[in-house]
Symmetry: C2
Subunit: 224 residues, 2 copies
DNA sequence: TTAATATTTATCCACTCGTATCAATTTAGA
DNA sequence: TCTAAATTGATACGAGTGGATAAATATTAA
């Protein structure tokens, strides 16, 4: 049991749970719908996960695992990169993950405006440690001249992550209102390029003499 | 009936609905809880609003009314302002509104990832017209040098609004994880200052000769 | 005061929810 | 093959849901 390899009822339930919780949140999701989507009897949820709450936690932990994997997948190469390149690399990976799994942000968001044991668990186990590290990285990058430094690191951090993922959270709206699919690869790359241009300081602002602005486009977008 | 002045059952229900729908979304909110919060019998909802759905629509329309009012409250003075000052003014008002009524963004967000008649109504009546105008304004401001112009207006728009409001949507998280209340007036002003610094081009980038960077802080933050 | 209307309250109903229970079935080990 | 465990399936239950109905009360007009 629990080898991590099974692609059966248990993992089918997890996948379906990610989708449903991502769309409707904990309160708006019914375990019967999850079971239907997974193609299994709803009694099986009680067996594989002791409750709806447990299934929700499993879905969250699964997604945070994917996030961590995605953002750090090039970590081995960071030692060969400048601070600037590291930031660009992790930001790019974060944006790609946000496009691939908007569910995580949504699930967190659903829980965010009211007290609950779920929120407590979420904060202690994921949000606080994750955000603390992220803000520290932002502050460091500010010192290194990668970000502007006349703005508090916390504000900058929340602007950064919002800039990165908001467009994907709005995706159905945008599709509906303007018939643009922001999950198209082209759109994703365009958004990466836009966010990096908007959030990261031009390379030659302070120290170096002006180099050349013409190919900033490619230099900023094709790192990974 | 319906004079717009009554501060009674009907408006008490509306206020309570805004709060509840903002916290839990349509699916997660029960009309009984709304009635309890308003201090009235839940049967009254059927009387004043014909259904939960109607009450939700009324709450949305009410909030969009407040938004419009907030963003355009200085519109009379726009003719005396430079394009840059207009953008700063409306952005500032938008951020203040986002701090005062994070419910609107949340309510929209709850509906955003799945099809429904509510989403259709929302898109047609509010999102599409509102966003179209906003993106057009962004594009114009790009031409006028207020925003950077090497980024598509749509991406810039979604980064802008995300940067403006995300921190307030994360408020309970931030309070919980770092004990910071982003709704404090100081925090709000700090955030306005940060967002304007991050999204709006420095005044002297292109045309003018470099003037002075020292008081950019006050010049950008105290407009309204 | 009286009659008509507007509003509130108290129940009721059909339905969905999460979950508990237990039988049926499949799988694995001897 | 036989047995025990693991897994799945069918059903039931109490709680909570939105909405409907009609009685009770408050308000207004005559």
């Amino acid at each position: 049991m629990e080898t991590g390899l099974e692609l059966d009822t248990r993992s089918k339930l997890l996948k379906a749970a990610v989708v449903q919780f991502g769309k409707f949140g904990f309160a708006g999701t019914s375990v019967r719908k999850i079971a239907d989507d997974a193609g299994v009897n709803h009694g099986s949820i009680k067996y594989h996960y002791s409750s709806k709450d447990d299934l929700w936690r499993a879905a969250v932990a699964y997604l945070y695992g994917l996030l961590d994997e995605a953002v750090h997948k090039d970590e081995a190469e960071w030692k060969n990169m400048s601070p600037r390149e590291q930031i660009i690399n992790s930001a790019t990976n974060y944006i790609r993950f946000s496009a691939k799994h908007p569910e995580l942000s949504r699930i967190v968001f659903f829980e965010t405006m009211h007290e609950s044991e779920r929120l407590e668990w979420l904060t202690e186990n994921f949000i606080r440690p994750y955000t603390s590290r992220a803000i520290a990285r932002v502050a460091l990058a500010q010192e290194q001249g990668v970000y502007v430094d006349d703005v508090p690191a916390m504000n900058l951090h929340y602007v950064n992550i919002a800039a990165a993922k908001n467009i994907f959270l709005m995706a159905p709206e945008i599709k509906r209102a303007f018939d643009i699919d922001v999950f198209d690869d082209d759109q994703i790359e365009q958004h990466i390029d836009a966010v990096l241009k908007l959030t990261i300081r031009p390379e030659n602002t302070e120290e170096k003499p002006s180099q050349d602005g013409a190919d900033a486009d490619t230099s900023i977008s094709n790192v990974t």
